[in-house]
Symmetry: C2
Subunit: 240 residues, 2 copies
């Protein structure tokens, strides 16, 4: 079987703790420098440089050199999607055996960036609200923005012009912590951008976790009817 060769290379690149940690950090959507990534992965800068070089050579990462810094980022949405799908498999692998339940972990479960859109309980709640009010449709087979929804989201500040790069417009993304869908694609990215611009959510340092500001809580409730006050039911795996 000759067809598997490149698959092995790509998977092996992801299948190393240091590299996977750096890739996971970059799944936040931002660009990070080599030193930052070395720090996050707990390895020396020289080792990180080697890893990053290999990831760039394999086109999993892209790099831009500005001033004396090298900024690394996920090379394409295809790579982000691959990492998501691996995470989705990895999440079922452990049948809830040992959940560390650290504060760190809880913050990620509540809200985080998933490449360039919002995931976690917040991401799923937003998706639920938008589906309930008929702004978007979202099911196992795909997603779309309704005509009414287009007007609503444009009024909200989203740029819904189809991007040139032919990237996917609106699709469901399986949330590994909630095991339900949130909104990805161009629409998901625009929603995330708008919320950041408004100060409704803030990035935390050195993590993909997002912080929901009081303004964000009330704003999302007012704008879309997003309800985050289900009485601590986060332990229930809502798969419906």
């Amino acid at each position: 079987m000759v067809a598997a060769a490149n698959v092995v290379e790509v998977a092996a690149l992801v299948g190393d703790t240091a590299r996977a940690t750096m890739l996971a950090a970059l799944m936040g959507g931002q660009s990070l420098t080599a030193s930052e990534l070395a720090f996050l992965a707990h390895i020396s800068r020289s080792t990180a440089s080697e890893h990053l070089g290999r990831l760039v050579e394999a086109r999993l990462l892209a790099v831009t050199r500005k001033r004396r810094f090298s900024y690394y980022r996920i090379a394409s949405p295809l790579v982000a999607r691959m990492l998501e799908s691996i995470k989705a498999v990895a999440a079922i692998e452990t049948p809830a055996r040992h959940q560390p339940r650290s504060a760190q972990e809880d913050a990620l479960r509540f809200a985080r960036t998933c490449y360039d859109h919002i995931a976690g309980r917040l991401g799923v709640a937003i998706a639920d609200a938008l589906v309930a009010r008929g702004t978007v449709t979202l099911d196992d087979d795909g997603g779309a923005v309704t005509d009414m929804g287009t007007r609503e989201l444009v009024a909200f500040g989203a740029n819904l012009a189809r991007p040139a790069g032919k990237r996917i417009f609106c699709r469901p993304c399986l949330d590994w912590s909630e095991r339900r869908y949130h909104i990805a694609g161009h629409v998901g990215a625009e929603l995330c951008r708008c919320c950041l611009d408004r100060g409704w959510i803030r990035r935390k340092r050195d993590t993909r976790a997002l912080e929901l500001t009081p303004a964000g809580r009330s704003g999302l409730a007012a704008a879309f009817g997003v309800d985050l006050d289900f009485s601590n039911a986060d332990s229930v795996l809502r798969t419906a």
Copy 2:
């Protein structure tokens, strides 16, 4: 970053030539015995047994023991999807540098099973035809069967009842050889099954390649208007 642990394990499992070869073989959708997989991967049975044990433990494969044989298969559509997405990334990685172009390879490019549905030029041609005649809709954001299409496919022999396991009904799957979409999900699986039942396509031994019979060629043309006679334009990357 603690969240990446399982991802590393899963990716590392795929990132080994022998294991990836076995997984790729099982992407044909069938169950295979340990000895068959050992032969395909060019390793001893003892080594294969170790690999298979790890893959089962990690829930990437499932096994059923019947008589004195162990039959291994892909554990879930989620795993199949992950492998697809890795393949999609691996396919862009090499910018058409060295294409082996073996007969083996060509057969896979023409038609193959992708877990449980049809891929390759044939799979894409079927998808194109069904979209053109309005049987299904298929774009970057998802897929669906139209009302007219439901009647047509049921008349064709497909069982379009929503499966109990809540698996995805109709979705686009990025074909790594054609770099365009073919039909996956429950609908894709039913189409594949109907064609196999009719003798329109046949599995080849020890490979995921499919053979299109003369009856299949005329049958697909008559039933859905599938056209495979584009004048050897397979060298052109049609991304539109």
